[in-house]
């Protein structure tokens, strides 16, 4: 079973809207795909069944003191069943949240913001930004990498989970996180790098910069490339599941750089789909297929398909910018949150 774009172009798919009274900052489906969670601007984490036909439970108490800034699916399965999440807050706490909403503290860095998280499913490792340090939680142990010359703006795992890449001023750093400590490798490019994603095949690390462009390093060759021409900062990057495409936000349509074969040098990006109202704020490629989800600053939500170069509107504009997107592990459900605190769940298979 897979989503059918033609179907969605005729009518909006089934959707559930839950209203929270604080901005949504991040969302994710659990590893087992049963639960969906949204992190919110009032410190709450809203858990709900992934199935859009089911009623969500009432809001729980805040877990973070200020804003719950970041959230990912817990990469470790729960042996008792019911996989959970990991969240970070501007209270400096990194929390593991079980499927029943119980929180345990993994790290506490008072005065720092835990604003970016990454997870590696096969090794169960979690990486978190905390000021100038990157934290890695693995096998019940918290290790710190840094300090970097400036705050860690984003981070991600390599394909095999043996390394993390961090984004900061004037480039990226790659840390080996195995038990044998290797010196970090630095890849330089002037300016402030604000978003980072390691390609799903492990070959490339892409960043979005303060200067409205993106930068991509070929890790093995230590060569790099720069793509310009965006009207705004590219804060959202997403590699397709097969690593052939790098999707980027900050354009009015889906924008994908081709990384198959010789790579994107000298080629324009593939741009497709219906022009959305405004600029894309968040983009998320399906973890299993050629579909991609784009959220706009107008509130519009589109589903795109790179193969057919077409798209369908999943949710109309409502003037509240989309702040977060997520795919269920099977690629059949999506979630989106906005600045108003509207939390959407959409079933793509019908």
């Amino acid at each position: 079973m897979k989503p059918d774009l033609a179907n969605h172009r005729e009518a909006l798919p089934p959707q559930r809207k839950v209203t929270a009274d604080a901005p949504a900052t991040a969302c994710a489906f659990s590893r087992d795909g049963k639960l969906l969670a949204f992190a919110l601007g009032d410190g709450r984490v809203r858990l709900m069944p992934a199935d859009a036909k089911q009623e969500p439970p009432a809001a729980a108490e805040p877990l973070h003191k200020g804003v719950a800034l970041s959230l990912i699916a817990d990469p470790l399965p729960n042996p008792k069943g019911g996989d959970g999440f990991v969240t970070g807050g501007d209270d400096g706490r990194l929390l593991r949240i079980t499927s029943d909403g119980t929180a345990t503290e993994l790290a506490n860095q008072k005065g720092k913001w835990i604003d970016k998280l990454a997870a590696h499913k096969a090794t169960g490792a979690i990486a978190a930004s905390a000021g100038k340090m990157a934290l890695v939680v693995k096998d019940g142990e918290v290790r710190e990498f840094g300090p970097h010359s400036s705050t860690v703006a984003d981070l991600d795992f390599s394909k095999d989970g043996s390394r993390i890449a961090t984004a900061h001023y004037n480039g990226i750093t790659i840390w080996s996180i195995g038990q044998v400590t290797l010196p970090p490798r630095k890849f330089g490019w002037a300016g402030s790098h604000v978003a980072l994603r390691w390609s799903t095949d492990g070959k490339f690390v892409a960043t979005g910069t303060q200067e409205n462009d993106i930068h991509v390093w070929r890790i093995a060759q230590a060569s790099d490339m720069r793509m310009q021409g965006y009207p705004a900062k590219v804060k959202s990057l997403s590699w397709s599941a097969d690593a052939r495409w790098l999707f980027t936000s900050a354009q009015p349509v889906f924008t994908a750089w081709p990384f198959a074969g010789k790579g994107p040098e000298g080629k324009p990006p593939v741009q497709f789909g219906d022009e959305g109202a405004g600029l894309m704020t968040v983009v998320a490629a399906s973890p299993v297929s050629e579909f991609v989800l784009g959220g706009y600053d107008s509130g519009e939500l589109q589903l795109g398909e790179i193969k057919s170069r077409r798209s369908a509107v999943l949710k109309m504009s409502d003037s509240s910018p989309i702040t977060c997107l997520a795919w269920s592990p099977d690629g059949l459900r999506v979630a989106a949150g906005n600045e108003n605190g509207d939390l959407w769940t959409i079933d793509l298979a019908r």
Partner: protein, 320 residues
């Protein structure tokens, strides 16, 4: 989405001038307002408040080849984070360390689109230590530059100096920056209305105010920070002005700490107001001209090595 822009006050001043005292007062007094305070040293403030945020003064150079185009990336991130909060603020205060150039902080609010959409730079407030100002002037350029950047100056610790000396300090401040409002204070005690959400970049004061020592014939050492103003009653050509000012700030940006102006654009019903910090500038339409009102334009520069004759000729070439 139409959003209220949160006013941002940049607080600067030499070490020990009284910034921390002022921040403690703002955080502890009952004023019914909610402020987020971004500081450098967590420990210095005696108040435990989750709206106090520690920043690291992380300055980076914009990747566009301009040496004075430096920005505080940490502030961009913090402001984005603050805007995710459920509770909104009446204002944001940004403290800079005593020795830091306030330029990058101010420039951050001109540079980043997200920050610009959510906040507006309200005023740069400089706290001056009345007792130690002259000795601080001798210790480097910071004390002088902090005064040059200011929209509002708290002349603090006035109880520690005599009236004569106070007059001398005030005269020196006015020589550097005659356009800032000066409030004399003791222990940083001041009505918050006087420094917060002032719309100090409401530039009306510039037009109404003409410091007397800037009359022709005034001489000063070019190395010293000084100010300069140019006025005209002729309408301004907006395209020529943009081009000239853009080029001027590119070249002279490092020397020009502040530039401000109110312009009568040919045929426009409203005032055109602009302000710059180093090479960054921002402009907007201001209040409408009244019927029969004299439409005059004025530019103000505060900086080093200002060549008045060259600036005047450049501006005159932008007139109709």
């Amino acid at each position: 989405m139409a959003q209220e822009q949160v006013p941002v006050t940049v607080l600067t001043g030499y070490l020990g001038a009284g910034k921390t005292t002022l921040l403690n007062r703002i955080l502890s007094e009952q004023h019914g307002k909610k402020y987020a305070v971004i500081v450098n040293e967590f420990g210095e403030l005696g108040v435990d408040n989750d709206l106090v945020i520690n920043a690291d003064e992380e300055v980076f150079e914009m990747n566009n080849g301009c040496i004075c185009c430096t920005v505080r990336g940490d502030l961009i991130r913090i402001i984005e984070g603050l805007m995710k909060r459920k509770d909104k603020f009446d204002g944001i205060l940004v403290e800079t360390t005593g020795l830091a150039d306030p330029g990058p902080v101010a420039q951050t609010f001109f540079t980043d689109d997200d920050v610009k959409a959510r906040t507006r730079l309200d005023a740069i407030v400089t706290v001056v230590d009345a007792k130690h100002f002259f000795s601080q002037l001798g210790q480097g350029e910071e004390a002088e530059e902090q005064v040059a950047f200011a929209d509002v100056i708290l002349l603090n610790k006035t109880d520690l100096v005599g009236e004569d000396d106070l007059g001398k300090v005030e005269a020196k401040i006015k020589a550097i920056n005659p356009y800032a409002r000066i409030h004399r204070t003791q222990k940083s005690k001041i009505e918050l209305d006087a420094i917060l959400d002032k719309g100090a970049f409401d530039l009306a004061r510039i037009l109404e105010f003409e410091p007397d020592f800037l009359k022709p014939g005034h001489e000063h050492n070019l190395d010293e920070v000084a100010s300069l103003s140019i006025s005209t009653d002729k309408p301004v050509d907006p395209d020529k002005f943009q081009k000239w000012m853009g080029a001027l700030l590119q070249i002279k940006g490092p020397d020009i700490f502040r530039s401000k102006g109110i312009l009568a654009i040919d045929g426009a019903p409203r005032r055109y107001v602009y302000q710059g910090v180093h090479m960054m500038m921002d402009s907007d339409w201001g209040t409408p001209w009244k019927d029969g009102e004299k439409r005059s334009s004025k530019l103000v520069f505060i900086g080093r090595n200002l060549d008045g004759e060259q600036l005047r000729r450049g501006f005159e070439a932008c007139l109709k």
